[in-house]
Amino acid sequence: MVEYTVIAVGAESEILRTRLWSRELVVKRRPAKPYLHDKIDAYLRRYRTVRECKMLAYARGLGIPTPAVYAVDLAECSIVMDYVDGVQLKELVGHVSPEQLVRLCKRFGEMIAGLHRGDVVHGDPTTSNVLVEPSGRMWIVDFGLADVNATVEMKGVDLHLVRRALETTHWQHQEQMLKAVLDGYQSIVGDGADEITRRMEEIRQRGRYH
């Protein structure tokens, strides 16, 4: 009998912590949503589980720290992966020094840039999906919305989502944080970064009626 502790309930998944094979692991499970059409629900749960497994491994190959995957169950739509002993970046904002915050955000930007350089977008790059270990080492998780063969547009959307997360959740620090993320991003992507940040601005202007 394996024992689980629920450590988080998100919009589409539950995260359970467990000890298995002498390792600290988490099980990420996507339960059914009875209020959605069953074909849409079945498709999304399965597609995102598969996508997440693949992209966690692919991102690692690009040198981005992600939890290792040990098992996947497509009937249950669950994934068994490494437990990261860290705190969400979201929780640290306001509790670390300004210098420390800039360092963390710069590293966040570098990680996004590492993905983009490999033509991968994360799809949900919020500060909830960045984990910081006590040592300072940072991880990026939750790849269910990630995609490959990313175009400038897709990368622009990814950066737009970073900004959106900062302005809704960290409005007191959003300017410093965004600047640090973009500095980190620029330091890895180089000259190509301009085109993508311009697209980010453009995307922000769409979808509003004027």
Binding site: I40, Y43, D124, L161, I203, R208
Partner: protein, 330 residues
């Protein structure tokens, strides 16, 4: 003492006048919507509609409320966001009334008004709001003194998507109700692009694919059914993300598309799953109307937030999060 406010709404296709008192009573709420014979809404035509129908609608609103113009202590108007010509026409009426009656003028944000009237009706204190209409698709919540947009469409609004599809299926504007009726007859689900990006979403790919299904011979009821299931499923997901993220305990559905029963059913399922309270704003308060402007005008006025006529220019691109919401505690 009770303050009585006249609110004028005219951001897009509808012109409305509502009378609301500061104890939260909607005394009247009269509106009219331009219904073109074919095609969509032309901003100039809509503005002409507002200027032609406006005075009569305002008179009806006062009569229904059982008040005279002299009883009005405050005039509020939809200052933005919206179509420039419509906003200017409405603002002109509001300025004239405020000057003529020598009462203060309040410029109200249209999106904020949708939320506040929903809170008045439901008694909700601090909801995650799903605001869906012809021109807007946003998930909004209050944080740090402002209403912040947690998610929105990256291209077209849900109502616009429904209208454009409806037009290609020969339906008249607004097409939402007819699509809903057709969808009830639909049996077979056809996959359409499902596009959620973080807490944002996109409907243009879905629209193209749905039109292709229709021209490829898929029966209209099945296409409508598939559109509703996909489009509302995406909305449910971003609403869930916002609830999980903000940890708020109330979910409010408002805007013209809130009249859709299937959307209401899906979002109430979301609320059950996340153990939050749910309210769908009643049809008469869900669409664009003056009562929401009047009520928000009162809240804003009581917080000392009026505008001089000389500085009351309209704000067609007024973002929800640009306004400091002084009447809500930080």
């Amino acid at each position: 003492m009770v303050t009585i406010c006249l609110g004028l709404e005219g951001t897009a296709h509808s012109f409305g006048a509502g009378v609301v008192s500061s104890d939260g009573k909607v005394m009247s709420n009269v509106w009219d919507m331009i219904r073109p014979q074919k095609g969509g809404i032309h901003p100039r035509e809509a503005a002409r509609h507002h200027s032609e129908k406006g005075p009569t609608i305002i008179r009806h609103a006062l009569e229904e409320a059982g008040v005279t113009a002299q009883d009005i202590q405050l005039v509020a108007f939809s200052r933005g966001p919206g179509l420039g010509p419509c906003l200017r026409t409405t603002a002109t009426m509001a300025r004239v009334l405020a000057l003529h009656l020598s009462v203060p003028l309040v410029g109200v944000n249209h999106c904020v008004a949708h939320i506040e009237i929903g809170c008045l009706e439901s008694g909700f204190q601090d909801p995650v709001t799903v605001y869906v209409s012809g021109g807007n698709t946003q998930v909004i919540a209050f944080a740090g003194g402002r209403f912040r947009t947690f998610g929105e469409t990256l291209d077209i609004a849900i109502g616009n998507m429904l209208d454009v599809f409806g037009r290609s299926a020969g339906m008249r504007f607004p097409a939402g109700p007819e699509i809903e009726r057709e969808a009830q007859l639909g049996r077979e689900y056809h996959a359409l692009p499902y596009s959620v990006k973080g807490m944002d979403l996109s409907y243009s790919g879905m629209l193209t694919a749905a039109r292709r299904l229709l021209s490829g011979g898929v029966p209209l009821p099945d296409v409508c059914f598939s559109i509703q299931e996909t489009a509302f499923g995406m909305l449910a997901e971003i609403a869930e993300r916002a609830i999980a993220h903000t940890k708020k305990r109330e979910l409010l559905l408002t805007g013209g598309v809130a009249r859709n029963s299937r959307l209401t059913e899906i979002l109430s399922g979301v609320a059950v799953r996340h153990d939050v309270r749910f309210h769908r704003v009643s049809p008469s308060l869900a669409g664009d109307q003056g009562a929401m402007i009047a009520w928000t005008g009162i809240l804003q006025y009581l917080a000392g937030n009026t505008v001089d006529v000389a500085e009351s220019q309209v704000l067609p691109r007024w973002r929800t999060d640009e306004q400091e919401i002084r009447w809500r505690a930080m």
